[in-house]
């Protein structure tokens, strides 16, 4: 494979990991979040700072990155407890803008220059690059997917679904909305932090604009497109929105326009996502798969 394809594939997988985290918050627990890039960024900055300033290796830093992302997710999840739906959407947009501003304006985070010189990840004494890094990301994606699969079958996962469908009913069944929402926020932001750490070590240079609000929109678009609440939705969404811009590369001038129009058409005519419960793809696929089984 050419390095071009490997780069695109690695980025798609990193995005898919992060969107899996968003799926826990939005798809499972039904809490809209338009600030996911902020948590992706918090993971990336934590990993970058630990690697460049403290000289800690990726593997030693990883638990730390995940803990910090999850705690900040928990902290920023608290304002979200008071608000719902549209308020929550705007609050999370606000969180994204504030976090980006902090990265950009506080010298500790590198300011406008960002953080450079992030070392490559070492595995068994060799530096990971190209294909090696791709496999590492794929490994983490499989891990995250396995975790999500397990989560949807756990008590907490089922509580999330109940909360998504009807908060007051779930509450009366003895599910604490506060706990479950915060749990979903924590898991989602921890996964985003993992994605961010991989991103930082792959790019080896990060700056605040990598985690600005449009990135959050891209994440949410991937999730909506793939299908919220489904296990494979985030992967499919990241794949489609990762490949499309590359396909449109020949039409340089009109690339973003075509891309946004396609996004608009999809959300307009297939708002449940491609793997959502009422999508045309699923309507055709499910009978087909059932037909295969005896």
């Amino acid at each position: 494979m050419s390095s071009y394809v490997i780069t695109i594939a690695t980025i798609i997988i990193i995005n898919a990991i992060s969107v899996c985290g968003l799926n826990v918050i939005v798809g499972y627990a039904g809490q809209i979040s338009l600030g996911h890039a902020a948590f992706f960024g918090i993971g990336a900055y934590t990993a970058a700072l630990l690697a460049t300033k403290a000289g800690i290796s990726f593997w030693a830093a990883l638990p730390c990155v995940i803990t910090i992302s999850a705690s900040i997710g928990l902290l920023l999840g608290i304002p979200s407890l008071r608000v719902r739906d549209d308020f929550l959407a705007i609050t999370t947009i606000g969180i994204n803008f504030i976090v980006e501003a902090v990265f950009l304006y506080i010298p500790f985070f590198g300011g406008a220059l960002g953080i450079g010189g992030i070392p490559r990840i070492m595995l068994f004494g060799s530096k990971l690059r190209g294909m090696g890094f791709f496999w590492l990301c794929l490994f983490f994606l499989v891990l995250v997917l396995a975790f999500c699969w397990w989560f949807t079958r756990s008590w907490a996962g089922l509580a999330c679904f109940a909360l998504r469908e009807e908060e007051s009913a779930a509450n009366s069944m003895g599910i604490s909305p506060v706990r479950i929402k915060l749990l979903a926020f924590m898991i989602g932001t921890a996964i985003a932090g993992l994605g961010g750490a991989l991103y930082a070590h792959y790019m080896r240079f990060i700056s605040a604009t990598d985690f600005s609000f449009p990135v959050s929109i891209a994440f949410l678009s991937m999730l909506v497109l793939g299908g919220m609440g489904s296990l494979w939705g985030p992967v499919l969404g990241a794949l489609i929105l990762g490949i499309l811009p590359e396909l449109f590369r020949p039409i340089v001038e009109y690339r973003i326009l075509v891309y946004t129009l396609l996004l608009l058409l999809m959300i307009r005519f297939q708002p449940g996502g491609l793997l959502g419960e009422v999508s045309f793809l699923r309507k055709r696929l499910v009978p087909l798969l059932k037909g295969l089984k005896p």
Binding site: L34, G94, I98, R268
Partner: protein, 287 residues
């Protein structure tokens, strides 16, 4: 003191412009419960159309009228073909659609007019005012006067006319308004016409005020106005105006005096989160 008053006057002008953009958003949210992010793109389009008409004819009046008509049309198109069919879905669906519309319109502006900053060398036909040692430029006077007229007209329309009554009824409950014989879809269309036309006015005013028109001029207002309608109370038009004026003043004065290490654009959101924690229905909102 002199500098302080100048800052104050500039702050009020900023606030007035915010108010003009936020009005449309508050109106639309009041009726459809949709976060109309694409409103900021309508504002950008208004600025461009105004500029092109001004360049072609040299008449500012025609520029304002043309911009308003064009934006009203654009508003109707967005409402009919994007929002209306998506009303039955959860709120994030129209929100994402709205963001996609905004990005698409920005791209169209960039493709048609080019990515560079165009100048808007118009002079508004208002006199300069001298208050003691302070001089109000004609642009500043124009911003005040036009905002005041727009707000007054809007207040008259919503409180004194039958259409305004229908608008208020529809914003309370679409289904019941329908049952009372109000053509709610028509009311929604009128709301979009009013909001979009005001956005065009705001766009042209901003173009002249900063002497700049560029494709991404709507990006920052797009999200800042969201914070403003939350601070004002979602769907409350007076609240949106108050919040806009306060933010305009706060931004100008804080940046001028306190050495805030954050960019002014984050300020709106910090204020918003503060308001949400303290009074989650907003300054003038009601539950």
């Amino acid at each position: 003191m002199h500098l302080f008053f100048e800052q104050l006057l500039n702050g009020i002008a900023m606030g007035s412009i915010y108010a003009l953009v936020t009005l449309g958003l508050a109106l639309v949210y009041g009726i459809l419960r949709i976060l109309h992010v694409a409103h900021a793109a309508v504002y950008t389009v208004g600025s461009y159309v105004g500029l092109f008409i001004f360049q072609a004819t040299g008449s500012l009046l025609l520029a304002f009228l043309g911009g308003m008509v064009f934006c009203a049309g654009l508003g109707i198109l967005i409402e009919r073909f994007i929002y209306f069919p998506l009303l039955k879905y959860p709120p994030y669906v129209p929100l994402i659609a709205s963001i996609a519309v905004m990005l698409a319109i920005e791209e169209v502006c960039r493709l048609i007019a080019g990515p560079y900053i165009l100048t808007f060398p118009a002079k508004l036909p208002f006199p300069e005012l001298h208050l003691g040692t302070i001089t109000l430029s004609s642009t500043l006077v124009a911003v005040y006067v036009i905002t005041a007229i727009v707000l007054l007209l809007l207040w008259l329309v919503t409180t004194k006319t039958e259409m305004g009554l229908a608008m208020r009824a529809t914003s309370q409950d679409i289904a019941i308004a329908d049952a009372m014989g109000i053509n709610s879809h028509f009311v929604v269309t009128v709301t979009f016409i009013i909001g979009s036309a005001i956005a065009a006015i705001a766009g042209i005013l901003v173009g002249i005020y900063y002497n700049q028109v560029y494709p991404t001029m709507g990006t920052v207002p797009a999200y800042k106005t969201l914070a403003l309608i939350v601070v004002g109370g979602l769907g409350s038009v007076p609240g949106a105006v108050v919040a806009s004026l306060l933010l305009g003043l706060g931004e100008t004065l804080l940046i001028g005096y306190a050495n805030v290490p954050l960019p002014r654009d984050a300020l709106a959101f910090i204020a918003m989160i503060g308001v949400l924690m303290w009074r989650s229905e907003g300054l003038l909102g009601s539950r």
